[in-house]
Symmetry: C2
Subunit: 186 residues, 2 copies
């Protein structure tokens, strides 16, 4: 499975989404095409499967009760994922969304079903614990951290430092859920 996932990602990098074929994936993996068809109906299915398999699982640490630390860890996990070949695959699907609308929807389904949404997972966990007002954990607030990390990568052309991640948590996410960290030390 991992070899087939690697093959579809490598093939995508080389030929692009529009020219992804079962033949190409099979050739690259050194596997008969029939093996692929036994599991998947189309090359897009192989790709979605590879993306789902690589999507990281966050583990909020309930025992620690450390909202700030868990938010920073969630953004670090996002950075880690953004270095994986599947992050490029997701970007490719997004950039060609007008040519592949169904694929974008199914990709969203992969993310939703996995329930793995970085800072949103952490915020909802602490809302369930009663440490954060659930009414403040809105779709907009769930995206603040990810949006600021992506903007930093695009504008600066490099990943934010750990200090920048802490600033994003202290100055943007925590205030949005009604928490103003006092004397945060940078």
């Amino acid at each position: 499975m991992a070899a087939l996932h690697d093959a579809v990602l490598a093939e995508l990098d080389e030929v692009g989404l529009g020219r992804l074929t079962m033949e190409g994936i099979a050739r690259r993996a050194g596997t008969p095409k029939t093996t692929l068809y036994r599991r998947w109906a189309a090359p897009e299915e192989v790709l979605l499967d590879a993306i789902a398999a690589a999507y990281p699982v966050e583990e909020p640490s309930p025992a620690a009760d450390d909202l700030r630390g868990d938010l920073i860890a969630a953004l670090e996990l996002l950075l880690e994922w953004s270095r994986h070949p599947t992050a490029r695959a997701v970007q490719a699907i997004m950039l060609e969304r007008h040519r592949h609308p169904g694929l974008v929807e199914r990709l969203q389904g992969v993310f939703d079903r996995s329930g793995r949404r970085f800072t949103a997972t952490v915020l909802q966990h602490y809302a369930r614990l009663g440490h954060v007002d659930p009414a403040l954990v809105t779709p907009v607030v769930e995206e603040i951290g990810e949006a600021l990390v992506f903007k930093h990568i695009v504008d600066a052309g490099e990943e934010p430092t750990r200090q920048r991640l802490a600033e994003i948590v202290d100055q943007a996410i925590l205030p949005a859920v009604g928490i103003r960290p006092v004397g945060a030390d940078y």
Copy 2:
């Protein structure tokens, strides 16, 4: 001037940043190349000039004293700008930043000199008036609105509605500067 700006943007759309030439711009504008060289030393200069000319000017309305309304207006101005051909030019420069590092720096210079930075302009204006704690207007906070708008465009493949812009202001930007709107009505 406007005709030459249009020409460089149209030429960029067609041939890309790496193959932008004075010849191509002149041909498209129906102008002798010498006219271009009288004003600019290289095709990138024409492009930067076109971007600078189109960059919008925000006008915070000091008399109105309406921080929330001015923030929403700043995000609407950002959307308006994102539809202009120069926004595509800026994106092209960002995407090819590794091939043109000097150009990205000079582009940043254009933005900084113009002092036109959407929500940042508004936040700094109200900080000067003493209505917002200047210590809270950090580089991270200045980017919250723009980051959430960009993420929405990438994820949803369409512009945020005016209601979404209001939610971004009420749920993310205002709390970050210590203001929690009460009973915001969506």
